[in-house]
Each structure stands twice: as structure tokens, then as C-alpha cells.
Symmetry: D2
Subunit: 327 residues, 4 copies
């Protein structure tokens, strides 16, 4: 295999805080290896539309601490077709790009994997999703920031819950996994946490609440992952309300504030490390892998495995909630 | 009139950040004047249930910076009846309480006004509402904190809006007034702000958006006050969506995070000043007034006037949005 | 007087959060009046070095929420000489700039005033200083943000002060005035505040502390404005230490974190209003004035008056500290 | 060994954010195991002075999110003597306390180890120090919060550094280790980081700076761990200044703000886990060990090993700074 001279980098799928830090690390690690790095704007869409621009190390000054992604991200139906991917490849060729770094989640990696195989172009993925559900890494970029955003929001909601003796159902992101819900529940002292990894039985929830209020607990927070099998926070609150007509039950859906904000120190650190090691991986001849952190070591996992995104939270951790937060 | 020896203090209605700072100021200003201060828990409900406790100056240590209200707040249907208010009065008598400080909004002040007249007991109101719509003061306690909470949330949403080229409708609190919506809109660079003080014409909004996107503006934020005449953010987004099917339109209702959080420096300062001057007002023989800040001076306004809460934002200020935020 | 067609805008002196919001408002208000706005980089230094660039309304996208000033600021010894100012003027002429908006403090306004008179070029000042000590406005841009930064820092220090029963001397900015010290002291519950506006008598401070500790107060915070007549926090702590050898006394100088950070909602709002009205003032033929907010109305004050910066905090407000924070 | 019925818990040494979350977890995990938990106030000092109070699960409501430690911490010279420790032990006996959980750093653990051996009382340590330098755990409670505090402070300083083209030396905590300095340096894009683990050669630093400025880099941040062998930030800045007289060099010592603040989600999570597993360890008959997290698993390390605190940052990680932050 020949030496890589030009790399493309793009962000794809849902954005997450720290993606800019990862882009910056790819660009500067590229410079360190004498590799030119091209920013591909709007993900695969930009690859097809040749929305590609050389990025100098100075072009990524002042992005480390910023939320979102300055390369933007977009969906591309066209990239799901072979014709689309062919155009994308030709654009890479035009720019003499030898390899691509994809920052995103499992959907983005599936596309990357297929693309890499069709056109024999090296591809490395960097896991960026607040859901933290990628296989092959302990932490995904953006998860720690989103967790802090949720916890700060729940701290605020608890102020008003406590003032009014109210029960709040707070819905957080997480379609397939409960990392954000469970860890924010522990950190905010939530009375209960409902996650996709465990069947939610409404009658059990009602019993738990009845018991809590019997203990003279007058206000409370229940965290609901959006992907919980019993439905979202509004639906579950409705089911509970019927039997707790004398309680003041409220619902808050935290929504898109969870995707934004200046990345935490933790996310900036892992984004920097992953960015450096994505480039290192390409230099070392790796392809079709995702760079991840397992036990604080850099690990490369085949995209095929990581794209199945079967990392799910261990529901036995829910016992922490039972032990600590039921008073 | 005899010298006041014992004061009761309560928080009522919706809670707002800085209420604890106001309670603290009342308790300590009381001590300064050799007046004992009693905390009445859960607002008028606690007055009826004699949920009343002496507060020493040290009891309010470590509350200055906390959101919510440690005296709690509650609705009381009973206080709306003469029988209820009579019981409440008798409880004050039992505790030898000579006067009451009410921290809350216009609904609370209406009750206070009636109560004061029926039983000839001095009452002074302190305006605490994130809506900032009380007549007789430039600023209500909690408004500045809520404004910062909204602006920080919109900053986060803008990160993800910009990454995806999305248009967000963000609903903020404000049933009758647009202070929070307008000022957060200016401060966050929102493309448009919809407030109760100005009729919302959906066709005009559509034209504005069409024009904005023609100028190649690809993402945007529209702030909607919950009390806007065209409906909440979800309804307005639906009306707009039909004609902008190619845009990715999202809705976020910020909800109860706006009521919580550690109060801003501004809110702690005005809460401290208002608390001191509520007690000073009682010492000076004032009654049935709200203490407020107008042009940074302490002003006492009859509760009857302030309780009409007709302070509304000047819709001509919307021109600031037009001048600054349409690019 | 002829219609103004091109305006220059610069930031000068110490930077303060919200300066970017003010620049943005000047640029976009210019566009509203069909006036071109040029950014003059690095203050008067850039004027002399012709470091001047046209700014379009889109060039100031995404700066509203950022601390610092993207136009940068610098000292210029050369601008203090007539030769220097002449070169500066010639550069304005080259760029056909008709008028200048100066965002800064009193030192910057003195230079602006002299420059305007020498070359008959209209100049308008916008007050930006965290010290808040400009005559002609209730609030300067950056003061509210700096106040919140100080209060958040003192909240953190209080955590550790309380854990250890320590007495902290915390030095905050303010060479000539005590706004930041006094208002942060009220908002953080500081046990004492030492400001330039009032003579600091170390013996009185010692008595106060001795009394406080006799009351079993075990930890505490004393805020010292850097310009206090008794010296900075380190010096005062040294003087006190001798007589309190059994106490654990610590000193923290908050330093330059006070100048940075994303501006608060309040600062973004006043910066936006002042920027719009600086341009409006020029359009209306005003010159050699500072735009300010007095009682929430826009007021133009001659630069000669505002540049004397004799606004000082009213030391009677220190009674608030005595009433509220001595427990 | 008999079943443990009563546990004492104390915080000792420098406080760190998340200690309250750990105390709460110990108290509630105790309740889960039907063990009574006693708070020992002011560390070993309180053990000697019998400042000990039963804590119910409800007594630790509302402390999870608070900085500092409500049990307080103090130094105790007396505990370093055998007489002192004997009195301490007798007080435990009086309260029928069977075992003790110590939350603190290596100094506290040395005392605990000796005490446990002398009096055959089970002791378990929980690592709480922002320095993160305890052997036997990847993370200590408070480190992540302090890291974010530093990064937010440096973000603010960069605003003003960039506005003025200044070079800042920022001193952060870390007497023996550079975790805080190195990770905050990566996360804030610091141009250089000086840590105790690597000899600081002033000439090399000067060369690096000269090179940076030649590349037209006009502002910068250098993070200095307080325990760096070349001295603190002030001393190093002085040494550098001589050769860079044309640069505006400033120094900020972040100080005690690093110890305070509401704990991050990460610290609340690890504090909760460690607290639960400290009690579990005692129930399982463990003694003289520290509970830690290694590769996200609970690990118990003999106090003798952990108290040597020889965990130091790997200086090869400094290459991350070289690769990413030299532009």
C-alpha cells in the first residue's frame, strides 16, 4: 500500500459536542504526518456534491471548545445508492483523497463500510454520538457533555419540583439505549429510571410511586429514555396520572439542548485522542475500522462489528437507583 | 400604629430563582430591626394549616444561591373562601404575627390584598415571577436568571441547528407577556420572536422565512412565547411546515428548566434589596403595597395596581430583532 | 452635514464580554441605514497601521455569544502623538470612512475626543468595561457578565471555605471603583467588602472579624477590590493574619477570568441596543458623545464628561452587607 | 468476624467536589444493608472530639449536587499521636461504631491504615482528590469536576488573551502530579504544559515560544502545575519575560475555585459507585483497603499501596500537546 498523502474528514448523522475537537485533531495530526486534510462538508451529501475544501492547521483554530460541527452534517439518500457512492468516489479521486475519516454513529459507519469495500478506499470511523451505544468503545464523543447537560437540567427541574411537591417525568435522548438515562438518573438522584434495556411495567412503577409517597416523599423525578418500550414521557405520565389524581404530575422533554453546548473536558480529551489515532491508524495501513477507547487504551474495531451498535447498558446497574435514590 | 414585632414571610404561586435570597433578606432585615420572622410554609396553604416556624438569621445561611424556595409554594383553594382566610388569620394571631411579606406574582397579591383588608393586617408584596409582568417594578425576581437559562439553552440548540441546517421553534414561558421571549430573542440572535403583545400573522411569518431562506440562510431559531395568540410552538410549527416541506423543522418546549437554577447575580441583588425594603416598608407603616425597583430606586405601589399585572412588553422593541437578526 | 456613508468601528482598552455583540449591532444597524461598516483591528494601533476591513452583516454571524473581541484591542503610544493621529486620520480618509464608533472605556474616549476635535470627524463611544465606572450610563457592557463570573467563582470558593472553616480574601477587578466588589459581595453573601470609595481601616476589619468569630462563624469570604486604598488582597490578608494566627486565612486573586466568557443575556441586550443607537446617533448628526442607558432610556453624554469616569459606587450601599451578611 | 452494625464516615484532607455524593452513597448503602451510619464531623479531629452524629437516609437528601463536604474536613495534629488515636478509638467504641469509611487522599489513608492496625477496626478508603494521583484507581472523586472548572476558566482567559495578543501562564493545582495540568492543557488547546513528571528546561520553553511567535502566533496559554520543578507560574513567567520584553505576559493562579462547584455527572456517578462498594466491602469483611475504579471495575487496593500515591501521569502524553496545540 502506498503512503497516504491526502485525507478527507466528514461528520455524519446526529451531531454531538466534541465533533469539532475531533476534526481539529484529524487536521493537525495530518499535518504532523505531512498529510493534507480536506474537510468534506455536510457529510456524504457533500462528498457527492464535491463540497470539499482543504483545511490548514490554522483553519481549525478556535473550534476546540465549540459545540456542533463546523463541517455540518446531513442525510443523503443518494449515498445509499450505488450511483451516488460512485459520484462520491469520483469526487474523492478528483481531489486526490486517499482515505476518509468518518465521525459519526452506526448508520454513518454502515455506509462507510460499504463505500470502502466497493471502491477499495481506506476508511476509519470515530464514534460520535450522545447515545454512547457504539460497540468497540467505552465512550463516544459527546456523551459526557450531554450527560452533564441533562444533569444540570434535572438539577434545575428539581428546584421547582421541590418547591411545588410535584412529580416530573423527564424524557432524555436514547432511542436504543439507556446510557444517558441511567447515568443521569444516578447523578441527579432520580427516583426512577426507565430504559429500553429493561421492560417497563406500569403497574410496578405505580406501586413504587405509591410506596414513595407513603414514605412522605413529596416530590420526585423520573427519567425516561425516549426509546423506552412503554413509550415516551408523555405517554407514561398519562398512564400513571389516572391513579394519582391528587398529585401534580408534569412532563418535560429535554430535546435538542442535549446535542449542543461546549464540549466537556472529557469529550475534548477523547476527541483529541481519537482524532490523532484515526490518522495514525491510516498511516499504519488500517482500514474499515473504528477507533475506540477500551479501558483507556486505543482499540481498533472492524466497522462491521461496531456498526451493529449492540452496546447496551447493563440493566443490573439500575440497582444503584434502588439503593441510593428511593428516599 | 404599634411597632411590628413579628413578621410572617411566604412564597406563593409559581416559584422563581431568587426567592430564597428574598426570604433570607426579609429574615435578616427583620433581625436588624429586632423583629422576629416566621416562615410560613407552602404559601397560603401553610397559613391555613398553621405550618409556621420561627426562622433565625442562621436558618437562612446557605440559601442565597439556591434555586426554588425552601418555604415551598402551593395552591390553596381554601384561601379563596372567607372561611379559609379566617382560619389563616387566626393562625397568624396564635403566632402573634403582626404583618406578612408575600413573595410571588399577581395572583398571590390579589389574595394578599383581600386578606389584608378583611383583617386589617399589614401586607407587603415582593414581585417574584420569571414572566416579569408585574406593574410597579422594572424587574421581578427570577426574570434575569430565567432569561440566562433560555439564552444558554438556545445557544445549545443553535449548535445543532447550524450543524443540520434546521429551523427550530423554541417555546419559552410567558402566558401574558413577552419579556422572556423578546429579550432572549435579542440575546440569542433569534430570527423571529412571537409574543402575546403583538398579533401573530402566520402568512407574514411564512413570507419572512421564505425571504430568509432566499438569502441563503440555512438554519434558524424562532422564539415563541407560550401565550402567543397563534398558539404554542408545536401549533405554529405545524402551520408553517405545510409550506416548507423541504425544510427540517423542529420544536423544543423549554419547560420547567426555566424556573430553576442558581439565581444570577442580578436576581440575588434585587432580591436582597427588595427583601430589606419590604421590612423597611412595614417598619415605616406601609401596607398593601408591593416593593419594586423603578429606575433603580425603591418604589412602593399599591397592591391593587400591581395585581392587575398590566405590564407588557413594548412591541416596538421587536424592531431590534428586525434590524439585528435577519441575516 | 452630509449623509454618513461609511463608518469605522473599533474596540479599545481592556476587553469585556459583549464587545462582539456591540460590534455586530453596529455592523447590522449600519446595513439597516445603508451605511458600510469597516472593522478597525487592534484599536487605534490598527487605525494607524491601516488594519481596516469591510464587514458585511454576515461577517458578524456567530459572534453575538462570544467573549473577547474579534476586532482585538491594543495599546497605541503612537496615537497619543499628533503625528500618530494624523496618520490614523489619513487612513480613514483612504477608506472614505466618515465616522467612527469606539467601544471601550474612559482612556479610549479621551483619545477619541481629541481625535474627533483635531480632524472634525464624528465619533461616538459605546461604554465597554467590566468596572462599570463610566459616567453617563447605568451599565457598561461586560459588567453583568463579570459580576456573574465573580459570583460563580465565590460560590465555588465558599464550598471549600465551608469545608475547612477558612477565611478567604478574594480580590476582584476594579482599580477606581467598587461596583464589581460590592455587587458580587451582596450576591455571594460575603462577610465584608472593601472598595476604593471607602477608606479601609484595618483595625475596624479586625474588630469585625473578631466579632464574627465570636458569634461562632467559622468560615468566611471578604471581597477586596484591587484598587482598595489599603492595598490588594494579599497585603490586607497579611495585615490581618498577625492577629488571627489561629485562623486558616487564604487569598485568591480572580484575575483575568473576569474579562472573558460568553456574555450574559443582560450584556447581549444592552450591547445590541447601544450598537443600534450609536449608529442612529451618527445618522442623526451627533458627535463626540457616548451612548448610554440611564433608567433604561438611551442617553447621549458628551465624551468630555464621560471620559472623566467619575461614576463611583455609593458607599452607603455597604449597609446591605452589614444587614444581610454578618451572620 | 461479626456482622457490622454501625459505620462511621468522615471526609479528610483537601476537599473535592463529589465528597457529599460519596457520603450520601455510604449512608444509603448502609441503610440497604441495615447498618446505621454515623457522620464524623471535621475528619479525625471530630473523631477525637466525639463530634459524631447518626445520619438517616433522609439527612443526606439534597447533598448529591453540592460542592464541598457537609461533614467538613480539618487537620488533626493530635491524631498523629498514639494518645490522640486512642481517644478517637474510644469515641468510636462509645458510639458502638464497628468500622469506618474515610473519604480523602493519601495523607488521610496513611493515618487510617495506622489507626486500623493499632485498634483492629476495619477501615475502607474512598479516593477523593482533585489531583487524581492515588494509586489503585483510574479516577479520584473531584478530578473530573476540577478539570472542567480549569477548562472553563482557561476558555475565559483565552477570550481576553486573544483580544490583546497576550501570553498567559496559568497555574493549576497538582503538587506531585500533572493530571489536571495535562488534561486541561489538551482540552483547552494550551500551547504548552509544564508538569512535575517532566523536567522543565526554561531554555527549551523559550525556544518553543520564539518558534511559535515566529509562526505569527500572537496569543497563547501555558498551563503550569503548581508542583512543577521549575517553580510556579509567577517564577517561570519571570524567567521567560527577560527574553520576551516585547510580549505582554500575564500570570493567573486559578487557586481554590478548583476545589469547589457542583460535581460533574462523572464525579457523582463514581462517588455513588464507590460509596456503595465501600459499604459492600465492609459487609464482605474487607479492611484496610481503598475502593477504586480500574477499567470501570471496582477494585480494592491495600491502603498501604494506595497511600504511597505514586500514580503519576505518563509524560509521553505531552506529545498530544505537541501534535495538536502548536499552531
Amino acid at each position: 500500500m502506498e503512503k497516504i498523502k491526502k485525507i478527507g474528514v466528514l461528520t455524519s448523522g446526529g451531531d454531538s459536542p466534541g465533533m469539532n475537537a475531533a476534526i481539529r485533531a484529524v487536521v493537525r495530526a495530518g499535518a504532523y504526518h505531512n498529510i493534507e486534510v480536506f474537510g468534506i462538508y455536510q457529510g456524504y451529501k457533500g462528498m457527492i456534491e464535491n463540497n470539499i475544501k482543504l483545511l490548514s492547521p490554522r483553519d481549525v483554530s478556535n473550534v476546540l471548545h465549540r459545540g456542533g460541527t463546523f463541517l455540518k452534517t446531513a442525510r443523503s439518500e443518494e449515498f445509499k445508492t450505488q450511483e451516488g457512492r460512485k459520484i462520491a468516489y469520483e469526487n474523492l479521486r478528483k481531489n486526490e483523497i486517499d482515505a476518509v475519516v468518518i465521525i459519526g454513529g452506526d448508520g454513518s459507519f454502515k455506509g462507510a463500510n460499504q463505500f470502502s469495500k466497493e471502491f477499495a478506499i481506506p476508511v476509519i470511523g470515530i464514534p460520535g454520538t450522545i447515545d454512547n451505544d457504539m460497540y468497540g468503545t467505552d465512550y463516544c464523543i459527546g456523551y459526557d457533555t450531554a450527560l452533564n447537560t441533562v444533569v444540570e437540567a434535572v438539577d434545575k427541574i428539581r428546584d421547582t419540583a421541590g418547591a411545588h411537591d410535584r412529580l416530573f417525568f423527564v424524557e432524555v435522548m436514547g432511542r436504543d439505549s439507556g446510557f444517558l438515562a441511567l447515568r443521569s438518573g444516578i447523578a441527579s438522584g432520580a427516583e426512577a429510571v426507565l430504559i429500553p434495556e429493561k421492560e417497563t411495567i406500569i403497574d410496578d412503577l405505580k406501586k413504587y410511586l405509591a410506596n414513595g409517597y407513603n414514605k412522605k416523599k413529596s416530590s420526585g423525578i423520573i427519567i425516561v429514555a425516549e426509546g423506552d418500550d412503554a413509550g415516551g414521557a408523555y405517554k407514561i405520565a398519562d398512564l400513571v396520572k389516572k391513579d394519582f389524581t391528587n398529585y401534580d404530575i408534569r412532563v418535560t422533554v429535554l430535546g435538542h439542548i442535549q446535542r449542543g453546548g461546549s464540549p466537556s473536558a472529557f469529550d475534548r480529551n477523547i476527541a483529541s485522542q481519537m482524532g490523532i489515532n484515526a490518522v495514525q491508524g491510516l498511516v499504519d495501513g488500517k482500514s474499515n475500522v473504528m477507533v475506540g477507547l477500551i479501558n483507556r487504551n486505543i482499540v481498533y474495531t472492524p466497522l462491521e462489528q461496531s456498526a451493529k451498535h449492540n452496546k447496551r447498558v447493563n440493566p443490573t446497574l439500575l440497582s444503584t437507583i434502588d439503593i441510593l435514590n428511593s428516599y
